[in-house]
């Protein structure tokens, strides 16, 4: 394991401190590694927060700022944060109109946010929760933990953040977030594994010519392992289940997000994007918005995920609304 780190135990705290120092015009650091907007909660605006294990940067702290999140809670590496800092972030985001918790669907995240919401409730802060579960690699059933939340999370955060900025009520922001979650699906591939600093060795082993289809973002192995194929073939393997699960029909408008897992060259993401876009267009869908880059990563993992969000006019307008965060910025 070769990493640009000091003591493995200090990775998260040093990374957050460095991030906040580099973006001090946008964010500030509170207790428990919580990253919040400079200037504090906006009175009368619904607060929007998210959080989860570290190692997925820029998610979530990179999306704190005007038009998106009010605060983010980074946990230990790949480990959901505990309720205390989630509560701290909830307080920091509360402008009197309630706070939306955007939670990726992992047992740990769900349980810790649940506890934090109870604690917030005891302080008379109204909390609503959206559980993001866009990963079609995982079987969704009442009897399982259900689908994971992966790259679609950044779209929920952008669009819910814009709805809050627009002045929607907590119920309104929640319903927008639910609409995004209901219309977004993702699937990912790993070409290499990643190594959590304190573990010191890769999260799984892949042969010289193997890739793992249906990986998550926590260094978990995926659903099945196949020999390396061409970018176009791999893109098909990611896009097909996404489109099918979404029930995408000709004539629909979509946002296409090709997300890098952290160690993938930008050129490869563009190649995956090109083919996914051409496939979607061939199906009669209109790729109205696009996002290509490292947004929800797994440390230095090489690989990518394909996310499709079905757009309507309101979601498009909210997506286009100005945003000023470290990792997503336009119009401001």
């Amino acid at each position: 394991m070769k990493k640009l780190i000091n003591d493995p135990q200090d990775v998260t705290s040093e990374a957050v401190a460095g991030f906040v120092a580099a973006h001090s015009d946008i964010v500030t650091q509170l207790d428990g590694l919580v990253v919040a907007r400079v200037g504090g909660a906006v009175q009368g605006k619904v607060g929007v927060i998210s959080g989860g294990g570290s190692g997925h940067e820029p998610l979530h702290a990179g999306f704190v700022g005007v038009g998106m999140l009010d605060a983010a809670v980074p946990g230990a590496m790949f480990t959901s944060p505990t309720p205390d800092p989630i509560l701290e972030a909830t307080r920091a985001a509360d402008g009197g109109a309630g706070v939306l918790h955007i939670v990726k669907n992992y047992t740990g995240d769900v349980l810790n946010f649940e506890t934090a919401a109870e604690l917030a409730d005891a302080e008379d802060i109204e909390v609503a929760t959206i559980i993001v579960n866009d990963d079609v690699a995982v079987e969704d059933s009442l009897y399982t933990a259900g689908r994971r939340g992966v790259a679609g999370t950044v779209l929920v955060e952008k669009i819910a953040g814009a709805a809050a900025e627009r002045g929607d009520s907590l119920a309104g922001v929640l319903s927008i977030a639910e609409r995004v979650n209901a219309n977004v699906r993702s699937m990912g591939v790993a070409l290499t594994a990643c190594t959590v600093p304190h573990a010191g060795k890769p999260s799984f082993e892949l042969g010289e010519d193997e890739i793992e289809i249906g990986i998550g973002i926590h260094g978990e192995p995926g659903r099945h392992r196949i020999p390396i194929a061409s970018a176009n073939e791999i893109t098909d393997m990611l896009l097909d289940p996404v489109v099918e699960d979404l029930g995408l029909a000709a004539g629909e408008k979509v946002l296409l997000l090709v997300n890098g897992m952290g160690g993938t060259p930008a050129s490869e993401l563009s190649i995956v994007y090109l083919h996914a876009r051409q496939r979607l267009e061939a199906m009669g869908a209109e790729v109205a918005r696009s996002l290509v880059g490292n947004y929800v990563t797994s440390l230095e993992m090489q690989g990518a995920s394909v996310t499709v969000l079905r757009l309507d006019d309101e979601l498009t307008e909210l997506y286009d609304a100005p945003v000023r965060t470290a990792a997503l910025r336009w119009g401001l």
Binding site: G53, G75, A76, M77, F78, T79, S80, P81, T82, P83, D84, Y106, T107, G108, L111, N112, E114, T115, A137, V138, E139, Y143, T144, A145, R148, V196, H198, A199, K201, S203, F204, G216, H218, G219, E220, P221, G222, R223
Partner: protein, 210 residues
């Protein structure tokens, strides 16, 4: 033949030592079918819990267990943090007394399991820590019914938890991170079940000493 606050303190000391000694092993189990942090998570949590217990002046079993609960809750994170946190919290509620007999041990373990199921909603056979806790509760219940001591109840519970953990190996996970692997989760021991066996073994050893 009861256990008391001294047992509770000794239990946490032994549990912490065991977690630290098996930290890599637990993370390794989690690496195979999860995300490789279970040992690290518990090491962080029990180091903090142990320090809190040493600084505490609690005089009841429940007083100690409650302190452990809140410390785990606020330091472990992940799935195991809220699950073990709730388990200790519920156990603390039924043991806020100076002495606990075999029936009390059964009640305590049953409350812990109840907390885990309330939060995690796993069924027996889903390949989670529930598969270690469930037989442990049953074993303690038998000892209590047969008039055994608290130490006997914990010993039986620990043995059953160990067997329960082993029995998770062939299972396909339906809850937690391992469930994402589907069929490929079979053939590996569930890390949370393994840590449950470890903790109950520490509890039994602490009781045997007293």
């Amino acid at each position: 033949s009861t256990i008391d606050v001294a047992w509770a303190r000794r239990f946490i000391a032994l549990a912490t030592a065991d977690v630290l000694a098996h930290r890599v092993e637990l993370s390794e189990l989690d690496r195979e079918i999860g995300d490789g942090d279970h040992g690290e998570n518990l090491a962080r949590g029990f180091t903090a819990a142990d320090a809190a217990v040493q600084a505490s002046e609690a005089t009841t079993v429940g007083g100690i267990l409650k302190l452990v609960a809140t410390t785990l809750m606020s330091t472990v994170g992940g799935a195991a943090g809220p699950l073990y946190g709730t388990a200790f919290l519920r156990a603390a509620k039924v043991s806020d007394v100076a002495d606990v007999d075999a029936a009390g041990v059964h009640a305590l373990l049953e409350a812990a399991l109840g907390g885990i199921v309330a939060r995690g909603k796993a069924n027996v056979g889903d390949k989670t820590m529930v598969d270690a806790w469930t037989p442990a509760v049953a074993a303690a219940s038998e000892v209590a019914a047969a008039g055994g001591s608290a130490a006997d109840a914990l010993a039986a519970a620990a043995r059953a938890a160990g067997e329960g953990a082993e029995a998770t190996i062939p299972l396909v996970a339906l809850k937690g991170r391992a469930s994402y692997l589907g069929e490929r989760s079979a053939g590996h021991k569930d890390p949370g079940a393994a840590s449950t066996a470890l903790l109950l073994d520490a509890a039994a050893r602490a009781a045997a000493e007293s």
